[in-house]
């Protein structure tokens, strides 16, 4: 059967007015027959392309008020609500100032029109290995707050959130309510570098995020996040460990970049070969570290 992009399949549609209402609905969702969406920039094309099975009911979160917040508090850090658009994260003054890597990663996603529609939480719940916000969130030690009915709440580190291509720890009765990021370490610097065939509005072939602090000539708080080079976005933990606490020097950076490349587990596909992707991890990690110095 060859099936092309079509109109949406016939299915139910509910637009709850509150988070409680939405969570109540999801309690009847043990088999994942209901599907939650926010901007819809991933789910709707997948449904039209018949890439995923159509749900019994599509639950539109856009009716929930007070979920598009971007709040910052010196103690608690940053909170990004489930309905905060990619564009609002990209352009938020506090994010630009305190978490520039996230603003930069958000700004590299698709086009302005799509960024005005899509959400950051949607970008990670969609869980493609190439999600641009993921390496940034990995570098920032982000936590995701998952809610379920009757005050059910759990916090998951972003490093534990992704389970595989398109898979996360999110349960059928849960909604990712917000993303929380602690205040960044003092004097930290960070960058996200995305490699794609075209200069803008393209999918990452490799995405690299680096965050670090240079203290008295040594590397501190090193985080290296990699996108599109493993079944999920990953941290290059061995490379981070090599750098952490060591004196800054070029040979070490080269070795760390090579180690990050060895930690990556890319595949061959029509976008790029695994070999090229591994080579590019090395190039981009090296560049990103230098840019943070």
């Amino acid at each position: 059967m060859v099936t092309f992009y079509r109109r949406l399949p016939k299915m139910g549609y509910v637009k709850p007015g509150s988070l409680e209402e939405a969570l109540e609905l999801l309690e009847k969702n043990p088999n994942g027959r209901y599907r939650v969406y926010a901007g819809g920039t991933d789910v709707i094309p997948k449904l039209k392309g018949r890439v995923i099975q159509s749900p019994e009911i599509l639950v539109d979160l856009k009716g929930v008020s007070d979920l598009d917040h971007i709040d910052f508090d010196e103690q608690k850090g940053l909170y990004i609500g489930a309905l905060a658009t990619v564009r609002s994260v990209e352009t938020s003054p506090v994010i630009k100032e305190r978490y520039p890597i996230l603003s930069q990663a958000a700004g590299s996603i698709a086009s302005i029109q799509v960024r005005n529609r899509g959400t950051i939480t949607g970008n990670i719940c969609n869980a493609v290995p190439s999600a641009d916000s993921a390496p940034a969130l990995l570098c920032l030690d982000a936590r995701v707050l998952l809610y379920s009915k009757n005050g059910g709440e759990r916090t998951v580190d972003i490093t534990d959130f992704f389970k595989g291509p398109g898979l996360t720890v999110l349960q059928p009765n849960e909604i990712l309510r917000e993303i929380n990021i602690s205040a960044s370490p003092e004097n930290s610097r960070s960058v996200y570098i995305k490699l794609s065939p075209r200069s803008r509005m393209d999918l990452a072939v490799v995405g690299v995020g680096v965050l670090l602090t240079k203290t008295n000539g040594t590397f501190r708080n090193v985080r290296i996040g990699l996108g599109a080079v493993a079944p999920t976005p990953i941290r290059a933990l061995k490379a981070e460990a090599m750098l952490e606490g060591s004196e800054v020097n070029d040979d070490l950076i080269i070795n760390a970049a090579r180690t990050a490349s060895e930690e990556s587990r890319p595949i061959d596909d029509h976008r790029a070969s695994a070999e090229y992707r591994k080579m590019m991890v090395e190039v981009l990690v090296k560049r990103a570290i230098h840019q943070c110095l």
Partner: protein, 761 residues
């Protein structure tokens, strides 16, 4: 030189406003009461025998009004030449490419039609497929068409002079293998139509860039006289050749459904369907051999071309013809041999596309010539100037060139500061390496095909002095409507606002071959001018009688008519129109004209003669920055010196040159269909990488005016020329930046990184 009032002016497009405001209606915008939707069932295999088809469940689905299979067309097939009619509207006994249409459903809405296609049960016997043309040529390869040995769809041979002698005279001979990619044509408007069959015959509102091809196909398929086939052309959202110069399954099925149900029937292909199933540029392998003297003079060239034709022949014979017959331009070739093979495979069909045929072999010859010049220590522009033709010129295969601005273009570029600051291989600073490349190419305009070439125009004078202009030519986005209106206005001394162009309606407009081979301005433009002059002649006679002067002394200018040297004898054009129309028992002023350019003999079998009416020449300088670590190429600047004879509308010429160059750049750097056993892996516009606005370089355009005698007001073609000049120019620039010659398109970052790695090792 004559001073024009409208020609040569920067006049905005006559169709601009309605397109920008959304008023313009495209085929998919049409809808009628009682209309049915037609949807295709497509094959899940690239090569399989159809054992049986059971449509009974689909027919029973409520809302379904009809189901068709291949047998409903009674063995009718179509093709570009009588002996290549190998394509059926729906597959009959065999499917030959993945997602070939096998059955069709008409239903009351799209969802029902799609649901019904899923209820059709087709039993297939899967056959071994063949996907590589070089494999397909071998003995024992699976046959795509049972009656065709070695899967040879079409071959074309040229042999002029004595290539062995030429190679013997050379100081340097090179042989290289080049490859050009599988490229999307790139229109944004998908194929669509609404068809209606009634006692008047067929009426179809269809998205076509050559409506008169479909007119003949439908008449033949349904055995109707031509005056019972009416194609009405809506606005067209680009074509670029191939699919929209041809018919497709949806056309035939919609018409037959309408015949059976008495209701209008509509289809719209979506982009995914387009990218999986529609015609695309041929992928070609070119084995090129060139001989050169120490001083850079080319002594001979021999090319062997192997093209992946896909499952059917389509317009492939012309593609093959163009790969060779235009190879003798724009550089002197005393000896030339060309062997071209179009091979059937179980891939989607290769067909025409902007730069048709020529882009492949010109890329190979340009790059090889520059490689040899480099070996001999000759500057890339110098080697081109040494070999470039000058007009008038007749090639060894009797292609005749009356005007040629190539040398002037190349000299202009050689003076450009961008060329002068060329590094010539000096080491880069940091990972970024700058490169400057060059090319000098030719393309035909006013293309002629075998068969019916007619191209006419009718200019009707309305009694208020306004003009109805009827043309069979199709503006598929290139801006030809504006240029044609300018021509009519110029001849009658009117403004473009006084002339209304009537788009193709085969019941009303004169026959024309449509938009391909850069033929509209040259040929339909010639017809328009002749028809306008016919009106002018009739009006001049009226005016001359009125003033008792010679008709030859009547001047039409600035919406007025007056007698040469007697300015007091003058009246508004509108007044003369009234006088002429109200005279006697009611005169009707209608002008008619047809194109008389390019009617010499053409030997299609031997490759002798002019496939075009005139030839454009394009010299292109390209600048790139290559990131040597990632292989990422940013094309920063282009300078294009283009000889289109004379630009009739400079805005259009600029836009066409820019568009052609960007499309060529996409082909050189980004674009390719990724294929796996006949399956297109990137059949979406996120994974198929066309250049985006953010990838576009600064483009400077320089007009080289040559005023060709075989075109209206000296005009030749614009746009296909820069599609041809762009890939070699870009690849030449990448070579300048990396020191590596890339012989396969597209030159992706990965290829660059791997080649640099290999060079280091």
């Amino acid at each position: 030189m004559e001073e024009y009032s409208v020609i040569g002016k920067r006049i905005p497009r006559v169709d601009g406003r309605v397109k920008v405001t959304g008023e313009a209606r495209y085929a998919a915008d049409y809808s009628m009461p009682g209309m049915l939707w037609c949807k295709m069932l497509r094959s899940p295999y690239p090569h399989a025998r159809i054992v049986s088809i059971d449509t009974s469940r689909a027919e029973k689905l409520p809302g379904v009004k009809g189901v068709l299979t291949g047998k409903d067309f009674n063995g009718w097939t179509w093709g570009w030449m009588p002996k290549t009619r190998d394509e059926p509207p729906l597959a009959v006994d065999k499917v030959r490419y993945l997602a070939e249409a096998v059955a069709a459903v008409a239903a009351i809405d799209e969802d029902t039609a799609e649901e019904a296609t899923e209820l059709i049960k087709v039993e297939y016997e899967e056959l071994p497929g063949v996907f590589d043309p070089e494999e397909a040529m071998k003995e024992g390869a699976p046959r795509v068409h049972d009656y065709v040995k070695n899967n040879l769809s079409w071959d074309f041979h040229m042999d002029f002079g004595d290539v062995d002698k030429g190679f013997g005279e050379a100081d340097l001979v090179r042989e290289d293998r080049f490859e050009t990619g599988r490229v999307i044509t790139g229109y944004l408007e998908p194929p669509a139509a609404v068809a209606l069959w009634d006692s008047g015959g067929i009426t179809i509102w269809a998205a076509k860039q050559s409506p008169y091809f479909v007119y003949r196909h439908l008449a033949a398929c349904f055995n109707l006289p031509l005056n019972k086939v009416r194609i009405i052309q809506p606005f067209i959202g680009a074509g670029f050749g191939g699919t929209k110069n041809d018919s497709l399954a949806g056309d035939f099925c919609s018409v037959l459904f309408s015949k059976r149900t008495g209701r209008p029937v509509k289809f719209v292909y979506n982009m995914h369907e387009v990218l999986m199933t529609c015609r695309r540029r041929h992928n070609m392998i070119i084995h090129n051999k060139m001989g050169m003297k120490k001083d850079g003079i080319i002594t001979a060239m021999q090319s062997k071309v192997i093209a992946d034709g896909g499952a059917y022949t389509a317009i492939g014979p012309l593609t093959m013809y163009l790969t060779g017959s235009i190879s003798t331009l724009p550089y002197k070739l005393p000896h030339f041999r060309h062997d071209a093979y179009r091979i059937f495979t179980n891939n989607p069909i290769g067909a025409a596309m902007r730069g048709h045929g020529v882009t492949h072999t010109r890329f190979a010859a340009e790059i090889q010539m520059e490689m040899m010049a480099e070996e001999l220590g000759i500057d890339p522009i110098e080697v081109r100037l040494k070999n470039a033709i000058t007009a008038p010129y007749e090639t060894i295969n009797k292609v005749t060139v009356h005007t040629c601005g190539l040398k002037e273009g190349l000299k202009t570029l050689s003076e450009n500061p961008k060329w002068k600051k060329r590094s010539g291989g000096s080491p880069p600073e940091g990972p970024l390496s700058h490169g400057v490349g060059i090319s000098g190419t030719a393309y035909l305009g006013g293309a002629r095909q075998r068969g019916h070439q007619s191209c006419g125009a009718v200019v009707r004078l309305c009694e208020d002095g306004t003009i109805d202009y009827l043309t069979g030519a199709t503006d598929c986005g290139q801006g030809s409507d504006t240029v044609l209106v300018q021509i009519v206005a110029e001849e009658l001394g009117l403004g473009v606002e006084d002339v209304d162009i009537k788009r193709v309606d085969t019941a009303v407009t004169p026959c024309d071959a449509g938009s391909y081979g850069s033929r509209v301005t040259v040929l339909a433009g010639g017809a328009a001018r002749n028809a306008a002059r016919d009106v002018k002649r009739q009006l001049a006679e009226v005016a001359a009688r009125n003033w008792e002067v010679d008709p030859g002394d009547i001047i039409f200018k600035d919406q007025r008519v007056y007698v040469k040297g007697e300015p007091e004898k003058a009246m508004p054009f509108r007044k003369l129109a009234q006088v002429a129309c109200y005279a006697g028992s009611g005169a009707v002023i209608i002008g008619r004209g047809y194109s008389q350019y390019g009617i010499e003999e053409l030997d299609f079998d031997k490759g002798i003669g002019n496939a075009g009416t005139s030839y454009s020449f394009t010299s292109q300088l390209t600048e790139v920055d290559v990131d040597l670590e990632t292989g990422f190429v940013k094309c920063t600047d282009m300078v294009i010196a283009h000889d289109c004879g004379r630009p009739l509308n400079p805005i259009n010429v600029e836009a066409q040159n820019q568009g052609g160059a960007i499309q060529g750049m996409g082909q050189a750097m980004y674009e390719r269909f990724a294929m796996d056993l006949g399956k297109t892996l990137n059949a979406n516009l996120a994974d198929y990488k066309m250049p985006l606005s953010t990838d576009v370089p600064n483009i400077e355009l320089i007009d080289i005016i040559t005023d060709d005698p075989n075109g209206p007001y000296g005009a030749k073609e614009a746009s296909e020329g820069s599609t041809v000049s762009s890939p070699p120019s870009v690849v030449s620039a990448i070579h300048d930046a990396t020191g590596i010659w890339f012989k396969e398109q597209p030159v992706t970052p990965e290829k660059i990184v791997m080649a640099l790695k290999k060079k280091r090792e």
